[in-house]
Every structure is written in structure tokens, then in C-alpha cells.
Symmetry: none
Subunit: 217 residues, 4 copies
Amino acid sequence: MVKPTRDAEATKASIMQNAMMLFAKNGYDATTAKEIAKKCGVNKAMIFYYYKNKAGLYSAVMSHALEAIHEEVITSKKCCISPLADLEAFIKTYAKYCDKHPYLPSLILRELSDSGAHLSEMMFESLRKLFTLLSSILKEGEAQGIFHNVTPMIIHFMIVGTINLLVTTKSLRTNAVAINEGLDTCSDCDIDEISDYIFTKIKLLLEVKNEENPTCP
Amino acid sequence: MVKPTRDAEATKASIMQNAMMLFAKNGYDATTAKEIAKKCGVNKAMIFYYYKNKAGLYSAVMSHALEAIHEEVITSKKCCISPLADLEAFIKTYAKYCDKHPYLPSLILRELSDSGAHLSEMMFESLRKLFTLLSSILKEGEAQGIFHNVTPMIIHFMIVGTINLLVTTKSLRTNAVAINEGLDTCSDCDIDEISDYIFTKIKLLLEVKNEENPTCP
Amino acid sequence: MVKPTRDAEATKASIMQNAMMLFAKNGYDATTAKEIAKKCGVNKAMIFYYYKNKAGLYSAVMSHALEAIHEEVITSKKCCISPLADLEAFIKTYAKYCDKHPYLPSLILRELSDSGAHLSEMMFESLRKLFTLLSSILKEGEAQGIFHNVTPMIIHFMIVGTINLLVTTKSLRTNAVAINEGLDTCSDCDIDEISDYIFTKIKLLLEVKNEENPTCP
Amino acid sequence: MVKPTRDAEATKASIMQNAMMLFAKNGYDATTAKEIAKKCGVNKAMIFYYYKNKAGLYSAVMSHALEAIHEEVITSKKCCISPLADLEAFIKTYAKYCDKHPYLPSLILRELSDSGAHLSEMMFESLRKLFTLLSSILKEGEAQGIFHNVTPMIIHFMIVGTINLLVTTKSLRTNAVAINEGLDTCSDCDIDEISDYIFTKIKLLLEVKNEENPTCP
DNA sequence: CATGAATGAGAGTTCATTCAT
DNA sequence: AATGAATGAACTCTCATTCAT
């Protein structure tokens, strides 16, 4: 009995927002249009009015999320002056964004978990762009003799995969520690510690000589 | 006078095997009983006869997969004599197993992607045991002064997450390279190269002094 | 400050015109308000504004079509001087009208095909008047000894049914001949040939002695 | 609460039978699966179990009806010895069949009323076969000098169209006479009178010399 | 042990229609 | 007069699950 907004933009955005949450939590198939509509307080039919069909909504959700993160990472990179600083920006921005929008890593993991069989052109493109960005940073660093023995794809997954898993398993890790007290599941680590740690480790792994390169201010 | 299809046990196993494939490829919801039955060449009702319901079958599938890997990784560890060797065994065994049974990483990623909301006790336990194993290796190595600055949870995800993503995205990465030729998506890397590379990198990242420690024969 | 689309009457008429086409082509149920509106270039809501609801629009369409033909056939009759001439006028006018407005026979066949269950009073009345007209011509002819053995209802259907089917199956008959070349589906016959032929045959069937009666000039 | 038949053939046939009635009465779109299932006393899902989808059921219904009539007409023809006898058999068999199964003419009129836009290959074929049959009778008669000035397509529609309309408008014609007493809508004519009349008229129209040709015994 | 028939619940989607501007 | 947003009811179709044989 929520009275209609009569504000197209707001309704449309609300649908996307709530759909994002539900898709991330329950996956594509287990999320129903009814459920989304209820959460938005709008009629089920509005979903189809604005997004044509469920797949269209999903596509829009993914596109939105991936564009946003890509934008953010690209922007953060601009302030920097060296591959190392770029790398740091990449890691920290990605981590921060995932922490703030924990739906994203869920959605990405889900998409990747079926070999991208249902990945739309657009999502595929977004993921590729993100990788291309990191790849160019790493290649540049290698060219400048700062990074060594780089296989960009694997490094990419080391960074992105680790962050994704840490974010998506947050509640899980808290539970695990409750059961087995000796286990350190990093359940108290905040996102800044985590990204610092990852950055440090990635530097080691890329055989960076610490003192010589400027990082992000 | 109806001739039974040879062997009940075989039918039951066939259902599990085919279900595993389909669950991994399409996810829980998108996999239908009809589809599984068809692939097995048995009647749909048999699934319910043997596994009570779809959730029961899924549970059995996950249980089977996780037990198998756990067995394998635990066993392989025994052959070795140092934390470094154990680490190597862990990485290579896990990677090899995932490569041979690519359904597993898919299933795991899928489960983790919703914060384990639907993770059964049993699956949760299995994942925890896997982490406990690696954790003990890392702790032991740190105690012996071989590994440094270890946060086991993050290292665990770095290893397991990277391997999972590399395996699940295999076909995806091949496509990506077809589109953008300059991109190196490691599409030709075989699993041995990959696990070698990861092991090497993890050693760097754990600040292992290379020459002093024996590895697995 | 919204500039009205020129002319309310024009909008209303456009809706009717396009609705007629679509109802004829796809039937009542398969024709949607959206579709009609799109074809008219007006907003969907206008249909309800002008015609209250879909049934109202349909009613208006049928009424319009039937009135038009009735007007035309009745009028044409007046120019003539004998039952035979009247009959000729009836056949040729009906045929010509159907050929020019092929929606009408479609709509009529559709209505009749469900035993008139949904036939509105008004449509029923129109169809009845058409039959009454032919009936009176035939009766008069019989009274004058020109026509013999007349069962008006059957003759009526022989004329009207044949013309309706020939018009509605035009494209169908063209296809049929393309498939089976030996078949003569009269696919090239134009409406004048057809109505001439029908008139000739109806004369034979009514046992008219050819030379004695004047026809329409 | 009808207890299940557990007789596949019976259930399947019941669905077809009831669907035929409803499709004929209300048309394709206005007939719902729910309605059909209710009339059969079976679960809605059975329709899809046996016929895949609504269109499949419709197709099966049409196919069944058209095959049946074609069979009947072909069979009746065999007993005869001259084109005239064949023609008589055609008309009387068709009329009788339509009278006994009044769904058929409704379905045919409906299909033809949209220019066969939705006519499936199979239905189209059946209709074509029926026409081919009559066509060959007429051509043969013309070759033997019994029939004159034959345009088979038009004659076909004169026969078939007239019978179809007479059958489908039966109740309508009864109503019309109630309103306008002077009107003779042939509301009391039985099917034998009708087909006799039509046959007689068609003979006149084909300029058959009455005494010289044998008809069906 | 195995099958095909049957079911009920619910999903996505469409659409006539109304409301507010 | 005209529009786009919003709704509720209905429809087709799917699917896990059960029943009878």
C-alpha cells in the first residue's frame, strides 16, 4: 500500500538497487520478480516496464556495478605517477569499493563460477576492461624494471580473487572462528589492513625493491 | 519380470556424477531433475528415490566433491618433510585436482558467492578443514623461521581463489584473447605452469630464502 | 502549453482506422492497445479516453464497417429497375466493397465463426439488414417469375460466403499455387472477374432465362 | 477432485476433444489452458505434458479435425462411378461431417479469417488437399463434358463456404427469425435438405444435363 | 528397482485499464 | 487533449515432487 512515487527515475533506481542486493544474495534464478517488487514497494509489472525482462534487469545491474568500479579505479589512477603507485591505487580502490558495495564481488564470483556461460557481452567487456587496466600497469612496471616475472592474468586473479573472497566470506569467517578458537580467519581485519597487506605481499611477489619508487600520496 | 538396469549402486553413482557436472555448469536452480535424469538415461523419479529431494542430491554432490579433494590434499601432505614441501604439495595437489575435476571450483565459488548463506554444515566443515590444513603448514613454517609475516586466511585465499578463478575462467580467457589480441590472458598456460608460478610467487611473498629448504620430491 | 495533435476528431478516427486493420488481421484478443496506439502514433491511454475500453473500440469498428457497406449496397440498389439488376448490383457492390476494405470480410467471418456468441446487438442488426435486402430482391424476382426455387438464406451465404472467403484467402491462394503448380486457385482473378463469374453462376442457379431481363447499366 | 485416470490415451484424447470445443467456441486466444483442464478434470500441467504448449495442442486439434474429414470424404468417393456422383458424395459427406462435428467449420472459418497468417504448414496442407480433391472431380467432369465453365476455386468456396456458414450460424439464424417473423432464415432446414439443395443448385450452375448422369446410390 | 502419469505451487510476462500531471 | 507511471488480474509454462503400477 505504498503510494506510488510517480517519479520514474527514482522507481527505476530503486528497482536496480534492490535487485542488486537480491541477485547478490540469492543468485539470478533464486531471485524472483515478486520479491524484488515487494522490496521496492512497487508493482511487479514495473520491473518489466522499465527493464523489459528479468535478464534485462540483471544485465543493467551488472553493467551498473561494473561501470561504477571501473570508473572509480580509472579516476583514482589519474592522481598517480608511477606503476607502483598505480598498482597501489588499483588494489586499494578495488578493495574499498568492494567493501562498500559487497554485492559486487558476489555478483562477479557468481558470473565467473559458470565459466561465463551466461555472461552478457557487456559484462564480459567490463571485466575485460578492468583486467586490461591492471595489465597495462603491470606491463609498464615491468618495462621500467620495477616489476619482475609478471604474468598479468594470474596476478590479476591473485588481487581480485583474494579481495572478492575476503569480502564475500566476511560473515562466514566470523562463524568459523566461533567454532574453532585456534583458527585465525582474519575476522577482525578491516579493509584497509587487508589491502595494505595485499599490496605489501604483491610488491614482494613482483620483486619490487622497496625504497626506490614513489607510491600514492 | 522387469530386468533391473544392472546395478542400483551404479545408477545412484551416475546420478551423482551427472548432477555434479550440471550443478557446476548451471548452478543449483538452473539445473532441473529432468535434465539430470536425461543425462543419466534414467527416470526422473529415481532421483527422488535415491536422494529424497533435489537439495539432498546437491548435498550429496558437494559432500562427495569436498571429501575427495580433502582426502587427496591431506594424503599428499604426508609424503613430505618440511613446511615448504608441504606448501608446495598443497598448492600442486589442489591445482591438479581442480584441473581434473573442474566442477569443484565452480561449486565452491558459487557457494561462497552468497556469503555461505546456503552452505550446509557439512560443506562448511569441509572448507574449514582445508583451511586448517594450510593454516597449520603456514604456522609451522613461521615457527621454524621459514615463512614471514603470515596472515593465513589471506594467503589461503590467494592460493585457492587464484586457482579457482583460473580454472573456472578457462574458456572465458580463451575468448577474451580472441577479441583483443594484445591481451595476455594466460590462455595457453597449463596447470603445471600455473601451479609452479603460484608456488614461486607465494614463496617470494612469504619471504622464503630459496636455497635452504627441501621441497617435495 | 501542450500543443494538441491538431484535431481530436482526427485522432479518434485514426484509432478506429488502425484498430480495424489490426482486429481484422489478428483478431480481437491478439490485438493489443499498445499496438494500436503505436500504429496511430498516439498514447495508449487515448484509446480508453475516446472509446472507454477495448470492447467499445471493437464495437465502434464493427459498427463503422457494417454501416458503410450497408449504406453502399442499399444506395446502389436504388439505381436499378429489375430484380435481376438489383441482384447484380448487390453482388458487385458487395464484392467491390470487400475488395477495397478487406478488413470487413475478415471481421464478419470471425464473428460468425463462433456462432455469433459475441455478436453485439448492433452488428447482428446490420448483418440481418443486409440479408433482408437480398431476401427481398430474391422474393420479388420469384414473384415476377424470373427466379425459381429460391431459398434466400442459402443463396445469401453462397454469395456472401464465397466473396468473403475469396477476399480473405487472397494471399493464401497465392502461396498454394506456388507450392503446387497444377493447382488453379484463381490467384490472378481480379474482383471484377470474380463478381461477374459469381453473378453468372447465380443466374444459372436461379434458372434465369438470360435474354429477357435488363441488368444494371 | 476427479480421481486420475492413469490412462494416458484417454487423458490425451479428452484434452484434445475439450480443446476442440473451446477453440471452436471462443477462438485460440480466448481459450485458456486452465479452462481446458477444468473441463477435462485434469491438471493444467497435463496439457503441456502431452502437447508441449498451447500452440501444439491447437495444431493437434486442427490436424485431427482436418484429417478426419479428409478421410471421410475420400472414403465416400470410392463408392462412386462418375464425376457427378463424386461431386454429390463430396457435398453430402462434407455437410454431414460438419453437422455432426460443428467445431470443424468454426475452426476453419477462424483460420481463414486472418488470411491464414497463423496457419501451420500442416493445416494449410490439409486444406489444400481437400481443395485438390474437389478440383480433380470438377476437372474430370469438365473433361467428360458433364460440367461447364468451371472455376474450381470459386465453386469450392461456394460449396464449402456455404455449408460452413450455415452450420456456424445455426443458433444465430434461429434468433433472427424470432425477431423478424417475415424473414426466412432456413432455421428449420435439416442438413439433408440443405445438402440436397446445394447439390441441385451446383448442378444447375455447372450446366449439367440432368437425365444423362448417374449419381451416388 | 523403475516408470510414466499426475499434481500444486509458483515463476515470468502481458495487458487492459486507471491515475496524476 | 494528452502523456507516462502504475496497477492487478490473468495467462502460459516449468518444475520439484508424489502416486500407482
